[in-house]
């Protein structure tokens, strides 16, 4: 095995380990964990069996077989980024709706006389402050 191959396999294994670490911590959703594990597996296969790349380059009439790999890698990155753009758009939309819905609910609570001060204003409310002062004395 050439040194570069050994290095790539090492990187792929590290990726897989990092992914497993975050899965165990419940911090990576299944769809993403499978994707990254698949990427790591693909890296290892393509490094160990160079024939796959050469076969693909031959079929696509590409003289320089690593170019096929570069293309695939770029395509993967582009698709992932687009996917994240979609996800971010969706999340910010939902975030906005939640904030609006919450403000409407709070306004309703207030008109029915149940709530007063804004709970998310920085710092403790006035009631909390007086309690803290009593403790200090």
């Amino acid at each position: 095995m050439r040194p570069i191959s050994a290095f790539v396999v090492f990187v792929a294994v590290v990726i897989a380990l990092v992914v497993v670490f975050y899965i165990r911590r419940w911090r990576l959703r299944e769809e993403y964990s499978l994707l990254w594990l698949f990427l790591s597996a693909a890296l290892i296969i393509l490094t160990i069996d160079q024939g796959v790349m050469e076969w693909a380059a031959d079929r696509l009439h590409v003289a320089y077989s690593p170019a096929v790999l570069f293309f695939l890698a770029l395509a993967f990155v582009a698709v992932m980024l687009f996917h994240y753009s979609l996800e971010i758009s969706r999340l910010s939309d939902q975030n906005k709706m939640l904030a609006q819905e919450m403000s409407l609910l709070r306004a309703k609570l207030e008109t029915s006389g149940l709530s007063a001060a804004s709970p998310w204003k920085a710092g403790p409310s006035k009631v909390d402050l007086s309690v803290a002062d009593d403790d200090a004395l």
Binding site: L86, S89, R90, S92, D93, Q94, K96, M97, A99, Q100, M102, S103, L104, R106, A107, E110, T111, S118, W120, K121
Partner: protein, 249 residues
């Protein structure tokens, strides 16, 4: 929401005032609006202000929507639209919290909605006999975008960036569902027109703001013009909503 005076017959109106750090100018604005439009309910949308905006509004005894973080003008005004829809108002007028918009013309702005069957009335600075000045780039940007809005909406638009507006229940229901996040004014004209709604401009005279500064200064009008122009062009290819919102995109 419903106060005693609204149990009597007659149209119910709401004034929506989006406010971001406007604690200094709000008391005057609220006073003016109350004096000029006594039949209207007032709603201030506090867009995650860091100053005393929420306290000032509450001490004035005015309804307030407190957004827990800053959504920007689009998200704030849209929260007001949702409130207006839930409250079943016959007309809602949007007035800036910085005192730029003349409160005494709230009535003139709501007339096309209540009496002429229009869906949105826009207070235009460029229809009034005394023309609004402002920077040259600003005027150029507004002129270009207004041309675009006229073309894309098929209705005459001279001041597409004006945020002094009145809306019909139908327009409110649509915008509560779909409203652009930043610089929503020009886009909403095209979106409503594409729903077959009628838009009318009303000449108004606006004032210089007393506190704070416009967010669109220097060469920013050019950036704004390009960005909003592109967004307007994209609105043309957007599908009409199919009554689904918030699900997986």
């Amino acid at each position: 929401m419903a106060e005693d005076r609204h149990t009597t017959v007659g149209p119910r109106g709401l004034v929506i005032i989006p406010a971001y750090n406007e604690a200094r100018s709000l008391p005057d604005v609220l006073r003016e609006v109350r004096a000029a439009a006594p039949g209207f309910d007032l709603l201030v949308v506090n867009d995650g202000s860091a100053d005393e905006t929420a306290e000032v509004v509450r001490s004035e005894g005015c309804a307030v929507l407190d957004l827990c973080f800053n959504l920007g003008i689009g998200g704030a005004v849209q929260a007001g639209f949702k409130y207006a829809v839930e409250g079943g108002y016959d007309v809602a007028v949007q007035v800036d919290g910085d005192g730029q918009h003349p409160a005494d013309q709230i009535g003139a702005l709501s007339r096309p909605i209540l009496e002429e069957g229009c869906d949105m009335a826009v207070g235009s600075r460029y229809l009034a006999p005394e023309r609004y000045e402002g920077g040259r780039l600003r005027r150029l940007g507004n002129a270009v975008l207004s041309r675009m809005c006229s073309l894309l909406s098929g209705q005459r638009v001279t001041d597409c960036t004006s945020g002094f507006r009145a809306y019909s229940p139908r327009a409110l229901a649509y915008l509560a569902h779909r409203y652009p996040a930043d610089y929503p004014e020009p886009e909403s004209i095209v979106l409503l027109a594409r729903q077959g709604m009628r838009i009318r401009e009303v000449p108004v005279k606006m004032r210089e703001r007393r506190y704070g500064r416009s967010s669109i200064t220097g060469v920013r009008p050019l950036y704004y013009m390009t960005k909003v122009g592109l967004a307007l062009a994209l609105d043309v290819i957007k599908e009409a909503p199919r009554g689904r919102e918030g699900g997986k995109a």
